[in-house]
Amino acid sequence: MPEMDELQELVIEACRHPPGSPQRQRALTKVIRLASRKLWRENVAYYEDALQQTWVYFCQNVCEATTGRKYDPTQSSVVTWLSAYLKRRLQDFYIQGREQETRRAAVRGMASRSGETGELIDPVDNLAANPDVPPILQDVRDWVEADGSGDLVKTHIKGRPEVNCQALLLRRLPPEASWEEISAEFGLPISTLSSFYQRQCLPRLRKFGESEGYL
């Protein structure tokens, strides 16, 4: 198969250059692009996780044995080697999933025995519930409006005191006004406004965020 040959050649090309060199990175990128169309496919929820691990394994072991055994082109084609690894990862995820199911079933069984409801606790349900209105937005708005130190109002585009950080931040808080609207309102080019926003207003906002622990 001609494409197999092309992949083998690309692997040889990649390994001729030191790790981290752009020549190796180029060749590895081409292998990933070509091989991904030929790899084993399965329609399961954890397929992408297994595939992602396969690409990491590929990059780390195709030329040097970094985390596993080095690829041996005399033993198998690149696609066969990678598909085999991918199938092992898929199996790992399958077994992990089964084990979790078993544990949940055990918990459910115990719960039923003690007379409680046998509802499954899904780990995803345990993620913090999101309030309807994100408090962060209100916190930011309060801070911008209050401008305790007067710094946001004082920081403005030269000669245009009304085009200051407070005015721009309030307009860019969602639901935000578009840059076109803000440009029309102040009669200034978008690039002037956005560059001022990026250099002066966002850093102040980030600093506030850091002091509030929003990171």
């Binding site: 981290g20 752009p22 990175q25 996780d49 992602q52 994100p134 956005s194 250099r199 966002l202």
Partner: protein, 322 residues
């Protein structure tokens, strides 16, 4: 502008989006007050994620946490999808909806970026394609900067681009030729690279005349000299002085003196400053009876430059990292 969709399929790099990526994108999106903003944040997060995955696979160090896209407040108030590439700068990873039309780029990310990567996120959100990259933005159809599919370079070109930023040419070409990089940041902390001596140990007392004192950088923090061979019987003296009068900026003065004991430089000696790509950006040439040459410039931390002394066919070069 016409654009060949088949071509982008040829060079797009499709990578998987693991469950953790989708969960994180969902978490970031759920902090947004409007559905439109939530979708924007979800796509930005996935685009940054996949580019980060790609760079990590290629062995390029990144710092997700330092980006505005990973900052709760910054992403709330700006449409950002930035990724910090350690040692190079911030890469913008724009999610592209329609792969065959110019994609507008939000004004808040027009400046301060080392490049723009176009990413198409599959409707299933289980995979994403890195379509290509461009180091600079082009004007869009109606004016503002946009990502043009026709101007995108394949993802592997990004590797060369980052390599140039991470290993500037002057440093790499000289390193290949066995020239080591003098680290001026360390000079300022008192650690001088080998081969450089105190000025009065190299220059003769006649050269250190009152006239010499006049041409010095005021407030020079460090002054060091070195002998350089350029095919003449006697070595010339290269002197470097550094001063840091403004925060974040280093003023550099490079001087070339005749061999100790001789009064003038040979004619047609060139003193050159090379920029990061190896291109000459400052040059001085000796005429007859020149007693020194001098070039002065400023740089910021992380920049590299080369100092070259040339006479006829021979050159001697030193590389420096500020």
């Amino acid at each position: 502008m016409t654009y060949n969709t088949a071509e982008i399929d040829d060079f797009a790099l499709t990578l998987p989006l693991p469950q953790a990526a989708r969960q994180l994108a969902q978490q970031f999106a759920s902090q947004q007050p409007t559905p439109a903003k939530a979708e924007q944040v979800r796509h930005n997060t996935l685009a940054v994620w996949v580019v980060n995955d790609y760079l990590q696979m290629m062995g390029i160090d990144t710092d997700l946490e330092r980006g505005d896209s990973w900052n709760a407040i910054a992403r709330l108030t700006a449409d950002v999808a930035d990724l910090e590439v350690i040692g190079a700068g911030r890469l913008e990873c724009r999610p592209v909806q329609n792969v065959s039309a110019p994609c507008p780029v939000p004004p808040e990310v027009w400046g301060d970026r080392i490049g723009y990567v176009a990413v198409h996120i599959d409707a299933s959100q289980r995979e994403a394609s890195i379509l290509g990259f461009t180091p600079t933005l082009e004007p869009g159809d109606d004016g503002p900067p946009a990502l043009h599919p026709a101007h995108l370079q394949p993802p592997e070109d990004l590797m060369d681009h980052l390599d140039r930023l991470l290993h500037p040419l002057v440093a790499t070409t000289l390193a290949r030729a066995g020239v080591s990089l003098n680290q001026l940041g360390r000079w300022l902390q008192g650690a001088i690279d080998a081969g450089w001596s105190a000025v009065d140990a190299v220059l003769s007392p006649e050269q250190l005349s009152p006239a010499y004192a006049f041409r010095q950088l005021s407030n020079a923090a460090v002054r060091r000299a070195k002998l350089v061979e350029v095919g003449v019987s006697l070595p010339l003296v290269m002197e470097l002085s550094l001063s840091t009068t403004q925060p974040g900026q280093t003023d550099i003065c490079v001087q070339l003196y005749p061999s100790p004991g001789t009064s003038s430089l040979p004619p047609n000696v060139y003193l050159r400053i090379l920029d990061e790509s190896g291109t000459v950006f400052l040059e001085a040439q000796s005429t007859t009876l020149e007693d020194y040459l001098q070039l002065q410039f400023s740089g910021v931390s992380g920049e590299t430059f080369g100092v070259q002394v040339a006479l006829g066919d021979t050159t001697a070069t030193e590389a420096f990292l500020i």
